[in-house]
Amino acid sequence: MKLHGIKAPHKKNTADCEPVRIPIPKTVTIPMSMHIGKPAKPIVKKGDTVKVGQLIGEPDGFVSSTIHSSVSGKVTKVDDMISSMGMKIQCITIESDGQQTLSEEVKAPKVTDFESLKTAVKASGVVGLGGAGFPTFVKLSVKDLEKVEAVVINAAECEPYITSDTRTMMDNGDYVFKGIDALRKYMKVKRFIIGIENNKKDAIAKMQELASKTKDVEVHVLPSIYPQGGEKVLVFNTMGRVIPKGALPLDVGAVVINVTTLAFIGHYLEDGIPLVEKCITVDGSAIKEPKNVIAPIGTSIADLIEAAGGYKTEPKKILYGGPMMGIAVPSNAEPVLKNTNAIIAMDEKEAMPKKTTACIGCGACLNHCPFRLDPRAIAKAYQLDRGEDLEKLCVDLCMECGCCSFVCPANRPLVQTNKLAKIKLRAYQTKKKAEAEKEGK
């Protein structure tokens, strides 16, 4: 069996650009929610002086994350802002003093066992850096370590344009393996699989060279078929296992971790500097000089792009992440987040959505869906308000990778319909459950 996918253009223009550090911006805006889960609680107030790496946001609940200051300076504002997802989020604005003084809190963590490793990872504030932003320590909080057969390291980087993971492997390959060492030692993992798409020859060579010094690390070279880096797709293509609907990779014996996340952990264990800066690919048709940059978290997109060389033409669309799953931001005042791996600015030609026409029933959508869903039938069930059909069609399986919309000759917004259909399905299921409970009484 083979999973479907698409041959999206690669556009890895920046694969050879070693990341450069941008000048420290005058101000940074750090949202309290850059992860999946509950937003963090701010622990600083207006007027406070903060230093680089100082804790400014405390996790609220289990699935949450710590947040640290990315600059040294003065807190000028702690208030609500509308995020790019349209939700109100508390943000801390810090005016930089340009000194970048490291906080006294920063010191290498003492890790002696699995518990202290988890504590360290939690304290580092790291979240899934591939884009999802799921708190990494939650992922590592495995109750039964026996269940972990392999750690799958996601280095597929299947989105067009983005090369920040490629640069991690090229420039910080040693740290990837330091991360592996830690997991081997404290999590007792016996097998590591690094999954890389075959369009990253240099990174593959580097990983293979480093892997040859170990016995338990395999480098899986995967075809460049989008969405190779989807969690379920990657586990299937490296381990041959299907993660059931509603289950986690752990249920089939896998822990999937992004390569940059792992390299960060390797780095953190050495010097204890929390997640305060990020390597970001700046590219797109509106960008003058596509390149990789390292920017403090909270830098506004406007500052970031200016520091990276500015625009070639006026941008019409700016994305967090790649063009297949990236989020179009409402303005360039939005800050760089923990899980931002690319900022793509598109000119008018690239940005303009094409006109939607009638479905011609070609079946390209269902013949390209990695999970074999039928977006055409889902759209119909959605329009007709049939929750029961949506349940049968398993729309909740959809990972919104965008293959269906990409191949649709009529440019139908199939991902959008799927997203809406998921909401409708959830409402239907809640209603059904409530009705069942009522009858039960």
């Binding site: 609907k245 669309k317 940005a351 009638a358 011609i360 070609c362 074999r372 399986l397 965008g402 440019n411």
Partner: protein
């Protein structure tokens, strides 16, 4: 800074559009169009132009009248016109071709909601309407044109189609394989030249516009059944509208199943009905009827052959 566009991902789309799919189909039909003119004379070109023009015009006017979005630029009406012309004899009166084209676009396509919504193939259904309405002129098979005598073609000389000759056992009218392959015999405009149709079909396959499942299942079923029934297999494959139907009409997107297995079932069904009509029916040819019948069954086939979402069984 000017306002940014903010829409749902993906922000990239593939190169394929409805228009360039239809353009590819038109390109694939070109060898057969050229062959039809060489075989039947310039009147073949006249019939093709009339059908295409009428189809495009009726689509345009109907959509204007109903205040629908104009879809003539997606070129699907051109494809319908060409396919309908390919299914007509060269001697067809022009007014009949016009009526057929109007029926294809307005009755079969637009009344059901336009492109993608029709349940039956417009060209095939229109041909069947014409077979019933104009039985005489629809079975008046001109012999191939003799270019030394006339360039227009469509003279009164009538000849039987290879399938009719075979059905009646008139061996003297049955052409040899090479003649069949090159299409130099009586029949519908675009269906006689097997070589041209295969070329076009291969183009569609290479371009990924159609998949191999339907044509292979269709043709293989006809071949196998002919063999079982003790008929001349190659003769059955090369004559009639089988190849045109298998490559161009049984692969129509809107009216056939989308999944791999659906396409295979559809092709086998078409093959079986074709054989039933050819060997046991009253008509010499049954490709059009077989495709129409299977078009009607498409929703059921689609339902039965739906691909299973990759749920990985029940939740563990």
């Amino acid at each position: 800074m000017a306002k940014l566009i903010s829409n749902v991902s993906p922000h990239f789309s593939g190169k394929r559009t409805t228009q360039n799919i239809m353009l590819d189909v038109i390109i694939a039909l070109m060898p057969a169009a050229v062959a039809s003119v060489i075989i039947f004379g310039l009147r073949a070109l006249v019939v093709e132009v009339v059908c295409v023009a009428t189809c495009v015009a009726s689509e345009f006017l109907f959509e204007k009248l109903c205040k629908r979005d104009c879809t003539v630029f997606d070129l699907s009406a051109v494809v319908t016109g060409l396919l309908l012309a390919f299914n007509l004899p060269v001697s067809i009166p022009i007014w009949q071709a016009v009526i057929g084209s109007i029926a294809a676009i307005i009755v079969v396509k637009q009344l059901f909601g336009g492109i993608g919504q029709n349940f039956a193939n417009p060209a095939i259904t229109a041909r069947i309407i014409m077979l019933v309405a104009f039985a005489g002129s629809m079975s008046n098979w001109s012999k191939p044109v003799d270019w030394s005598r006339s360039v227009y073609g469509a003279d009164a000389v009538s000849g039987a189609t290879p399938l009719a000759a075979a059905a009646k056992g008139q061996t003297e009218f049955m052409p040899d394989y090479l003649t069949l392959f090159l299409g130099h015999h009586g029949g519908c405009l675009g269906e006689t030249c097997a070589l041209a149709i295969i070329l076009g079909g291969l183009y569609l396959l290479v371009r990924g516009i159609i998949s191999w499942h339907t044509p292979v299942a269709f043709i293989a079923t006809v071949a196998l059944m002919s063999l079982i029934c003790g008929k001349d297999v190659l003769y059955q494959l090369l004559s009639g509208g089988l190849l045109l139907g298998a490559f161009f009409m049984a692969t129509d997107y809107a009216t056939t199943p989308s999944t791999k297995w659906g396409k295979i079932v559809f092709g086998i069904g078409c093959g079986l009905v074709t054989i039933l009509i050819r060997f046991w029916g009253n008509l010499p040819e049954g490709v059009s009827y077989s495709i129409l019948l299977m078009n009607i069954l498409t929703p059921y086939i689609s339902k039965l052959t739906q691909q299973k979402p990759l749920t990985g069984g029940v939740k563990v």
